[in-house]
């Protein structure tokens, strides 16, 4: 196997981790924001 294949593997792995990680981070932010908004709305409804 060509010795430079490691750079290709690293490049594709970094791309996958960066995009996957960002999507995951956005889901976490959405969940946190929704919880905050719901908590305030619930207090207002008391």
């Amino acid at each position: 196997m060509e010795e430079n294949v490691g750079y290709v593997v690293a490049g594709y792995a970094i791309t996958a981790v960066a995009l996957g990680g960002y999507v995951l981070r956005l889901f976490v932010r959405a969940r946190e924001a929704r919880r905050r908004a719901e908590a305030v709305a619930a207090r207002r409804g008391r």
């Binding site: 060509e2 430079n4 294949v5 750079y7 290709v8 690293a10 490049g11 594709y12 970094i14 791309t15 960066a18 995009l19 960002y22 999507v23 956005l26 889901f27 932010r29 959405a30 924001a33 929704r34 905050r36 908004a37 719901e38 305030v40 709305a41 207090r43 207002r44 409804g45 008391r46």
Partner: protein, 245 residues
């Protein structure tokens, strides 16, 4: 409460988002297959040239993202509608991600071909400046509290900062550069082999679908975060908190 619930439901609506997510995933799998299996290795560079199929689409996405920031910023300054500011903010964040990715992938490609991870080449330097400009854009958004002032300042940076995009693209033409000339957007059209060109175009299309998906997701997050802040700053809540105290 009904109005609040409806508003919250609208803010978290997932219509189209999941379909785009699936489309993005399929596009990425197809692109990876074409890039890693179907396209032949480069005659001169060998296997490492396969990094082109992610490096070029990442750079293209950076251009596209910052173009969207530019257009949205102009639209915001013209209309003062906060919707345009939301779009600009979302696109800038995604653009920073793809610019950083393009730089890292370029470094991985540069090491075996140029013998160095980084050099102060015009293309690399102007790209690093692009990253810094939009990091500053995001920083300004974090430090300015007043929403309309934040949107106005950010819009100005979004417009002025876009000047660097054509400079990045044309840097390899204007100055003596270690970086190769443009692969796709060049006078006379692309000069690479048909199967490589197909893999590259599919990669660009796949990354564009990923951008569309990230934008829908990031816009939903933005709406939810704005709503959470609005709810927290509501006078009624303030009164409740005072009563609790």
């Amino acid at each position: 409460m009904d109005v609040a619930a409806r508003g919250l439901g609208k803010a978290t609506s997932r219509s189209g988002e999941r379909a785009l997510g699936v489309a993005a995933l399929v596009a990425i799998v197809v692109s990876a297959t074409l890039s890693l299996v179907v396209a032949p290795p480069d005659a001169a560079q060998g296997e490492v040239q396969r990094l082109m199929y992610v490096h070029v689409p990442a750079a293209w996405l950076a251009y596209l993202s910052f173009f969207v920031v530019f257009v949205s910023s102009v639209a915001y300054l013209k209309t003062r509608r906060i919707r345009w500011d939301r779009i600009a903010a979302a696109s800038a964040e995604i653009g920073v991600l793809f610019t950083a990715l393009a730089i890292v992938l370029g470094a991985l490609w540069g090491k075996p071909i140029w013998g160095t991870w980084w050099t102060w080449d015009p293309r690399l330097t102007t790209t690093a400046m692009l990253l810094l400009i939009y990091l500053a854009y995001l920083a300004v958004r974090r430090v300015v509290d007043n929403p309309s002032r934040r949107a106005r300042w950010a819009a100005v940076i979004g417009i002025v900062g876009f000047v660097d995009v054509p400079i990045v693209h044309l840097s390899v033409v204007w100055w003596r550069s270690l970086h190769q000339q443009a692969t796709l957007l060049r006078v006379g059209g692309p000069e690479i082999h048909g199967s490589m060109l197909a893999a590259l175009l599919v990669g660009v299309a796949a990354f564009t679908v990923v951008y569309a998906y990230l934008m829908t997701l990031r816009l939903r997050v933005g709406r939810l975060e704005e709503r959470a802040v609005r709810e927290a700053l509501s006078p009624q809540v303030g009164e409740l908190e005072e009563a609790d105290a």
